[in-house]
Symmetry: C2
Subunit: 158 residues, 2 copies
DNA sequence: TTTGAAACTCATGGGCC
DNA sequence: GGCCCATGAGTTTCAAA
């Protein structure tokens, strides 16, 4: 599963705009539309491209508040860690969750429409995951940037 | 610019999968394909839907490392704050940036393919933004969840 | 005014060179 | 990988509620 120069270029392009036609992409990377379609299909089949999703403007889609949460857990029981991961992944308000080095064990990005929703979520977190020791909340006063783009170097060393 | 029950349902659906045909969406929400397309076009025109983008699997797209960075700045000069925001938004490796309450002023999610890239980025940050006082880095050992989905309540009180 | 249906246009996806 | 043809989705228009 290697990515050549064209694949990398393609991935950078569709990460920005997945609605572009194969024809448009073709002229940008210098291949035929057929080749583009074949590569995109392969990239999807192989799971390099996981999915295509619409990105909303938070201000126009209910004005949610974003919370950055640092979570500390008791590290003695590894099996509970896996449980917490699953729990986090299942919560729709949890946009992102990273297991990190440092003081905190997890960093979460939460999107909720009001403080009540957020509080209820955190209450359920500590209740349903007893090894959560403590957590600290940072409220996002504004969102400077928001995306999932993974920059892929396009150097021609395939 | 109000969102009725159908709009909200539609937004929740396209956030998960933007490749669904209008026909599929139509039977899910109980409208005709034409109505779906009209609504989607309106939602895009009004900027509720900002864009459609392909989401990559980090493990299959160069295995980037994710960093969670807390940044503290000198708060005396508000104009430098705006400058930093613009700087952050312009950096391709900065996936997300929030201006937050609490000890830190900004929380960043960085995606970089190696530590050198990350170090260089942070070096440039402090160099080109002199009011950055200090920052602390948390390396993501694993990504538990990754998305931009904003859950939209679908209650029928339009 | 907004919805549903039909005609039209064009991108997509297959097979072949 | 590029070319061509068939299929299917997106777009526009029009009629109806």
């Amino acid at each position: 599963m290697k990515l050549d120069r064209f694949d990398r270029q393609l991935l950078n392009l569709v990460q920005e705009d997945a609605t572009q036609t194969a024809e448009r992409l073709a002229e940008k990377v210098g291949l035929s539309p057929s080749a583009i379609q074949r590569r995109l299909r392969r990239l999807r089949e192989e799971g390099v491209i996981v999915r295509d999703c619409a990105v909303l403007d938070p201000k126009k889609a209910g004005r949610p508040t974003f919370f950055v949460v640092s979570v500390q857990v008791e590290r003695e029981r590894p099996e509970l860690l896996a449980q917490l991961r699953e729990w986090l992944a299942a919560q729709e308000h949890v946009q992102q969750a990273f297991y990190v080095t440092g003081e905190a064990d997890f960093v979460l990005i939460i999107a909720a429409h009001d403080t009540e929703t957020y509080d209820a979520l955190m209450a359920r977190m500590v209740q349903e995951n007893p090894h959560v020791r403590r957590f600290t909340t940072n409220v996002a006063l504004s969102v400077v940037k928001r995306g999932l783009t993974i920059p892929i170097p396009e150097e021609t060393d395939d």
